[in-house]
């Protein structure tokens, strides 16, 4: 099955079996290994990317469903020299340890901030991140980072 997909602004044509997941297209076909797989029940959120403007779990999207979509992954939001405000806030607040959940967490957090008009408080951030598991940080610094990024994203 051939699908067209735009990832991080670049158009791709990939030929994959129908039983291929979006996350497999990203990791195995396009080499974008920043998107991780941490579970098999669509719970952990390590695989979250943006698809047509929404945060989605790329382990629960078939390649066919993503045909024609615009996808943004962790590799597409910033570089070490030009970080996205959310990436910068995660670093500044020590909101990551092992780094495995981090890409999904950052992509979820960006969507969360973008869909709330600067009115997120701590409880709303905690509620908004319920689809992302982190085993290292206890979430304390992640919450701080998201609240910080809310400010910097509004300013930027």
């Amino acid at each position: 099955m051939e699908i067209s997909i735009t990832v991080n602004g670049a158009a791709h044509q990939v030929d994959v079996p129908a039983n291929t997941l979006l996350v497999e297209v990203l990791r195995e076909r396009l080499g974008l290994t920043g998107t991780h797989v941490g579970c098999d029940t669509s719970q952990c959120g390590a695989c979250v990317v943006h698809m047509d403007g929404d945060a989605v779990k790329s382990c629960t999207v078939l390649a066919g469903q993503a045909a024609g979509a615009e996808v943004t992954t962790i590799e597409g939001i910033g570089t070490p020299d030009d970080l996205h405000p959310m990436q910068a806030a995660f670093r500044q607040n020590h909101a990551l340890q092992c780094g495995f959940c981090t890409p999904g967490m950052i992509m979820s957090a960006i969507d969360l901030v973008q869909k709330n008009d600067g009115d997120l408080d701590e409880a709303a951030v905690r509620d908004g991140l319920e689809g992302n598991l982190c085993r290292c940080t206890g979430y304390h610094n992640i919450v701080k980072a998201v609240l910080d990024a809310q400010q910097s994203m509004a300013a930027g």
């Binding site: 920043g34 991780h36 952990c44 910033g78 990436q87 990551l96 340890q97 495995f100 409880a123 085993r135």
Partner: protein, 783 residues
Amino acid sequence: MASETGIGASVLRKEDARFITGAGRYTDDLGQHGQTYAVFARSPHARAKIGSLDTAAAAATDGVVAVFTGADLQADGIGDLPCGWTVHSKDGEPMVVPPHPPIAVDRVNYVGEPYAVVIGETLEAAKNGAEALVADFEELPAVVDLASAASADQIHENVPNNQTYDWELGDKAATDEAFAKAAHVTSIDIVNNRLIPNAIEPRAALGEYDAAAGTYTLHTTSQNPHLERLVLAAFVNVAPEARLRVISPDVGGGFGSKIFVYAEETAVIWVAGKLRRPVKWRAERSESFLSDAHGRDHVTHAELALDGDGTFLGLRVKTIANMGAYLSTFASSVPTYLYGTLMAGQYKTPAIYVEVQSLFTNTAPVDAYRGAGRPEATYVVERIVETAARELGMDPAELRRRNFIEPGDFPYETPVALTYDTGDYEASLAKALDHADYAGFAARKAASEAAGMKRGIGFSCYIEACGLAPSQVAISLGAGVGLFEVGEVRVDVTGSVTVVTGSHSHGQSHETTFAQIISDKLGVPFENVTVLHGDTGRSDYALGTYGSRSLAVGGSAIIKATDKIIAKGCKIAAHMLEADAEQVSFEDGSFTVADSNQSLTFGEVAFSAYVPNNYPLEELEPGLSEKAFYDPPNFTYPAGAHICEVEVDPDTGVVRIDRFVAVDDFGHVVNPMIVEGQVHGGLAQGIGQALLEHGVYDDTGQLLSGSYMDYTMPRADDLPSFTVDTTVTPCTHNPLGVKGCGEAGAIGSTAAVMNAVTDALGVASVPMPATPETVWRAAQGGE
């Protein structure tokens, strides 16, 4: 005081640049041309004989490259997975060890135990092949209940009563005597619930074989690649160490579960050699639940003897510990030397006697999980102390104070084999009480009650023993490995520094912390220090990362190597400046001749070391690269006070943590930001144990909590923000004065939460985890 990047500064992490941009390289991100995929066929039964195993259809499946069974591994001389610590029973006999083939041969003993591995050109082909295996299982009754396991069916032929050992520690007679004269005895019966570690990165392995060189390379999710290599070489017989390289690239969390040597990477590296093709395996989360070593799982009866004033006289503890179906790599040491030895806690209890019976059941193997034995010990001690305070009508903080080992008592020898070097328990408790606004608790409780809610407060004053040591003592007690660590400091020609450590970082931030140490000690800019870890091809044999040891042991090795660098640098500088080495000292990044204005920068000395002009070669070798092995003389003893305040909804049983305060004494702190992060994560896991997490098997041995649909992981909305602070009594016996911070949160917090929940409900005990229904029922009974 600290420079901006030196010891004591909250330096932002070097690691972050790659992790926040998606450039981390975890095992599953790696691939090799022509690689195959491994899928493990796993037992659907908790206990069964494998009557026959027909692999023909599997082997004939489209895209299947090969199928291997346990018999194939055995026929090739692949040995059992060993347990690295021989514990002796009361009668002096060594523990009874059942055979543990990596792939089951005749019998399976837990759901999820691998009984064959199928190799496919694709993952789907390998899965198809695994489904085509025809195994004829003869089911046997499963032994699941721990409390009755000793009298249940015998699981292993060579293990009567399913008992690997029956261990004791302490003076039984003295303890009995203490109880005989007690004015009050408090007793508790508690279950320390089974946990499933759940690092978010599932275990994975990529095995390669270089036929031309005859060498193997295994990339895997290990906390200690050298241990992995040692076991694969010396016990499993894959290849001699020199022909086997084990690399742990970026690893997504471990928490103990990635210390151990498992069946899967063992099979993967062996198959890579057999097929002469790369083999890749990554656990699906369901496999992780079934096959990662689980944690905790104790049943305990404990009694505390007190005199009329509330002074502790004696403690008696009897524990049954679950080993699961086999002895995992360090399973035997966890409920013994990492548990019984901690029963003094922070208190001057004069007589303690601990008995631990470790039993097999038809469940996944149980081994070290964050804290490993010390959370279980803290749970016993801090639950019984809190219970005693309530029974005596004393303020629980005051009862603790009355029994604390005091600053003047150190070094303090406990009745359970440890010698604490230093501490100030009152200082941590006082600070924690202040942060928690203990004085305002009564008013908050009244406000909650007015709103139909219940409120409680709970304490936990824990101690832990980190940086397991020294080798000599541990080996005499049955450890099969040394407990030192290696550190290598390679000064580059231009004066930048590469550090090679045997400690692996999978979240702990070694690349930053160790660079701070070097920057501080050698005056080299932080950005010019690179830390390498996790590769047997890069560092000498080392023990890796577990038990909060990386800084206390690994960091000390680096300091030792740094001292050698300085000593040699002084000789080089002396040669360059034509002075005596004894006259040269090193300070603030410069080598200076005493009483002169002659001095050289670190960079000048480094350059000279590699461009040796006119060196007296018999006395002074070129080069500036030093290595040190550090074997600690004692454990370190981090300790602290945790206070938890909860509000309970009696209608639904929902427990909300209103505030959590942790004041810990980790000795000196290199990077406060990183240390706080470690505490936060530990707290989440300890709170998770208290309120959420539970590995549950049904009575046929099926794992009921086998996915995130049923195993309750702490999520952002389950937890509060934490109040974290420190006090400092420097460790007296390592060069940095550090103690270790990785496990404290998980060790101290669980008892604090449960003490708070029982306080809120006004009941003596609530089983863990205190789920809504459990709490609701307790609230009914408590009214």
